[in-house]
Each structure stands twice: as C-alpha cells, then as structure tokens.
C-alpha cells in the first residue's frame, strides 16, 4: 500500500514531503560539539540526527602495515534513536553501516595513514570513528558518513609522551589529522523503476533496494554498496554515479575545508 503511494508520487516527480526525487532535506553540520572527543560532528538531515566522535590512541600496527596508522569505524545503533534497534551485539544493519562508511573513508585513502607512524612496527596512531545516531528518520548512511568526514577534518592529535610511551589525552597538540581527501556518500533508493536520494524512515519501509556511492572532490568514485533485495540496471548505476558527484559537491561544502 505504502509502495504504491510512493510510486504514484514519484511518477509525478514528487516526494511525500514535497521534495523532488534527487533533493536532500535540510542538512546541517556542526563540528567541535564534544569536548572529550579529538574531533566531533553533529549532522542533521531533516529529522535524522547523528553524532560522530573521533578518538585517538596509540597501539601496535597490523603486521601487514607496520608503518601505517589504524582506522576503525564503528556505528552504535542504540534503541535511543529508533525503538526497533536492540541492545546487544551489533546487528547486521549496524555492521553494514559501520563497514560501508569505513570503506568510503578508507578506499580513497582519505587519511594519510602512513603519516600516523610513531615507531615502525611498534607504535602507530589508532583513529577510532564512532557514529551514534540520535534520531533515525532515514538515511543514517549519508548522515553518518558526512559526520565522519567532518569530525575527521577537525580532529587534532593529542600529545604523545615518547618516554613514558603513552598518550596524554587531555593535552592537545596543534597537529591536525592528515586528511588528503573529502569523500562524501550519497545513498539512493529505488521503488519500482523510480530512483531518489535521501530517503525518510517512511520511504525506507517501502524501498526495494538502495545504492550508496562515495565520490571524492575530484569527481571520482571511491566506494559503492548496493543494499536490499532489489536490482539496479547498469544505466541506473551510471546515472546515479553522475548524480552522486553532483550532490556530493553540495554536501561537501558543509564540511569545513582545511
């Protein structure tokens, strides 16, 4: 019933809240909102609100990257934001959310992880990006991804005491996290043959399938993820890549530049 309703609207190029198919709701990005975090952001897309905090620590590198820093992206879907989320081990949704946002940042090497080595094979910086939805009205993916990049862009390294070999969390340096790219994610839904961007919670109930695309500032694609049990044609994908670069450009303007 709901699907039919949305299809009827989309065929007239309309969404329930009056938006055009590829129009985003009001988006706002605020950084530096959490004092304890090394970098933080609060993103609102319509009524969807997400908090992202970046915390740094020092640890041993992975054996396949002895001189590289470590990036870990984690989304916590607490029942705070949506009564259908459950406490307990990460759900499939939260794992997918974490991994897709991670891919978007990692694949284009947005963070120059090689600059995060303190002592080869022994000590490197670990960057933890934690994504906490506060209210879920759809499109947590884009809100989380935007928040992640905004938080990373404003992240400052804490002091590292080489002698004691520990991080002094309360003292900050003036060194910013080495960020070389600004990847932005846009997620598209499909109902019937109609594609649209930035779905609300109600639209997500009717969506058959979705495609998230991450583009960097030079218009290149750095990650893609299809979700849901429906299908896309090759033409769909090409069209959406184009749209993603366009929309991504607008969203990127909200992220603080160097």
């Amino acid at each position: 019933m709901l699907k039919q309703y949305f299809i009827e609207l989309l065929e007239k190029d309309k969404r329930e809240d009056g938006r055009k198919p590829f129009e985003y709701r009001d988006v706002s990005v605020e950084t530096g909102v959490i004092a304890r975090a090394n970098g933080s952001a609060r993103v609102k897309i319509g009524n969807t609100e997400v908090l992202v905090g970046v915390k740094l620590d020092v640890g041993t590198p992975f054996p396949d990257g002895p001189e590289s820093g470590i990036l870990m992206v984690n989304a916590e879907l607490l029942p705070l934001a949506n009564p259908n989320f459950e406490f307990g081990p990460p759900s499939k949704d939260s794992v997918e959310l974490s991994r897709v946002i991670d891919r978007g940042i990692r694949e284009c090497h947005a963070i120059d992880l090689d600059k995060l080595c303190i002592k080869a094979k022994e000590k490197v910086w670990m960057v933890f990006v934690d994504i906490y939805p506060i209210n879920d009205d759809g499109n947590l993916l884009d809100a989380g991804a935007l928040g992640a990049i905004a938080a990373l862009k404003t992240t400052v390294l804490p002091k590292y005491d080489e002698k004691e070999e520990k991080v002094i969390h309360k003292e900050l340096t003036k060194t910013k996290l080495p960020l070389v790219h600004s990847p932005v994610m846009t997620t598209f839904g499909k109902i019937g043959n109609n594609k649209f961007a930035d779905s609300t919670m109600r639209e997500e109930k009717a969506i058959e399938t979705r495609l998230s695309i991450v583009t960097t500032e030079d218009g290149n694609v750095s990650a893609m993820q299809k979700g849901g049990a429906g299908m896309f044609t090759a033409d769909d994908v090409i069209e959406l890549i184009e749209k993603s670069a366009e929309l991504g450009k607008k969203l990127r303007k909200l992220v603080p530049s160097k």
Partner: protein, 228 residues
C-alpha cells in the same frame, strides 16, 4: 481545614504540581488526590469547573476506552478472529462475529479472506473486561476494512485539534483535497485520494501536530493546502 487552590484555568503544569488543598476539591483527568491535596500526574492543561479540577494530559500514549472510535492494524490470527495493534501497548481482539451484520461462515471460508495481516480496520472499542481483554467491533456502518489509502501516525493528544471545533479543521482538510479522511482517537489517520492530495493532507496534519499551540493555525493550514 484550609481550602486553597494554587492554579487557575488554562495553566500548564508538570507532574507533581500541588493543584489544591482541601477535601472539597475533586480531582478529574490526570489529577489525583493524596491525603487532603490534589496533584497532577502528568504534564497537562488545567480546567477548573466549580470544585472540579481537571488535568487534561498534553502527552502520553493512547489508553483505550469503551466506545472510542479507532483505526486498528491486524497483526495476527486467533481461533475466532484476529488480533490487532492500536499504537498502544494493549492487545486488541477482533472477533469474527464483529465484522459483519451477516453471519460469517468459517467452514467455507478462512479468516484471511476477510482480513489479512497489515490490513487496517476502522472500528469502535466494544468492551474492556476487568482482566484487560479488549475487543473491537466493526460491523455497523461506518466501520469497515480500510482499502488503499495511506495511514499516518500522530500523537493522540493532538487528535481533537485535527478534528477541530465541531469538525471545522477536518472539513477544511477534506474540502481542499478531495480525500476521504478518517480519524482514530488512537492517533492513526487514514487518508484516501490521489497520491499527491494524500501527501498534501499528511503534511497539513503534521503541521497541525507541530503548531497546535500557536495562534493562526487555521490560516497556516489553509495556506499550505492551497500552496502545495
């Protein structure tokens, strides 16, 4: 015995507020008596009529009462009917004898022929037993299965505003959209028309929900319905 009233008509109060002292005052709605005093148990609006101090709740989930007109959603099959959910934590039963004035023959048909899971029903709370068993009836007009259309959810506290004084607001919504609109006291509203008009009405209802306590609401709603 000191008789004192601490609030006045149309005040907005928080839970635990001392409303009045003295046994001659009578609590109503979400006002309760403790000893000689009357307090409010929820965030609410005060209505004082003589000695009766009533707290009209401004927040809270729907609590079913006999005779309430509601929109229920079928969520299961039982032996003699269906179970429904009504945006309230209570379970509601719809008995096969309450869906039609005619006899329903289950030997030659099955429950799913009449109502499937996720179907919506427009009905009335028939009975609430002492043990908490709540039953629904949909056999008399205008009660029925709702086919097609769009169901949206609003805070049950806002339903009177959506209906308006003597139905004035809902008339504006119906007239300007050519949609059928049914309002459940449990906070569900069914809208049926073409998709564009359904969306228009849904947005207007969201506006009423958000702006219910501001003045000039009727004008804003009219403007929204004409504009979009």
């Amino acid at each position: 015995m000191v008789e004192k009233i601490h609030i006045k008509d149309k005040d907005v109060i928080v839970p635990g507020t001392l409303l009045a002292e003295g046994l001659e005052y009578l609590p109503s709605g979400k006002a309760f008596r403790d000893g000689e005093n009357i307090y409010s148990s929820t965030v609410g609006l005060i209505s004082v009529k003589g000695r009766v101090i009533k707290v009209i709740p401004l927040a809270g989930k729907y609590a079913p009462k006999r005779g309430d007109v509601i929109i229920a959603k079928i969520n299961g099959f039982g032996k003699f009917g269906w179970t429904c959910e009504i945006e309230s934590p209570y379970k509601i039963d719809l008995n096969v004898g309450e869906i039609s004035m005619n006899y329903v023959d289950l030997k030659n048909s099955k429950l799913a022929d009449y109502f499937k899971i996720s179907d919506y029903v427009f009905g009335e709370i028939l009975d609430i037993s002492e043990s908490g068993y709540i039953s629904l009836t949909a056999k008399r007009m205008p009660y029925r299965k709702l086919v097609g259309g769009n169901v949206i959810k609003v805070s049950p506290v806002k339903i009177p505003r959506i209906i308006g004084k003597q139905g004035s607001m809902i008339k504006i919504l119906k007239d300007s959209s050519n949609c059928e609109i049914l309002v459940g006291q449990n906070g569900l509203v069914w809208i049926k028309g073409n998709a564009e008009n359904e969306a228009k009405v849904a947005n207007a209802i969201k506006l009423i929900e958000q702006e219910s306590h501001h003045s000039g609401l009727t004008e804003k709603v009219k403007a929204m319905l004409e504009g979009k």
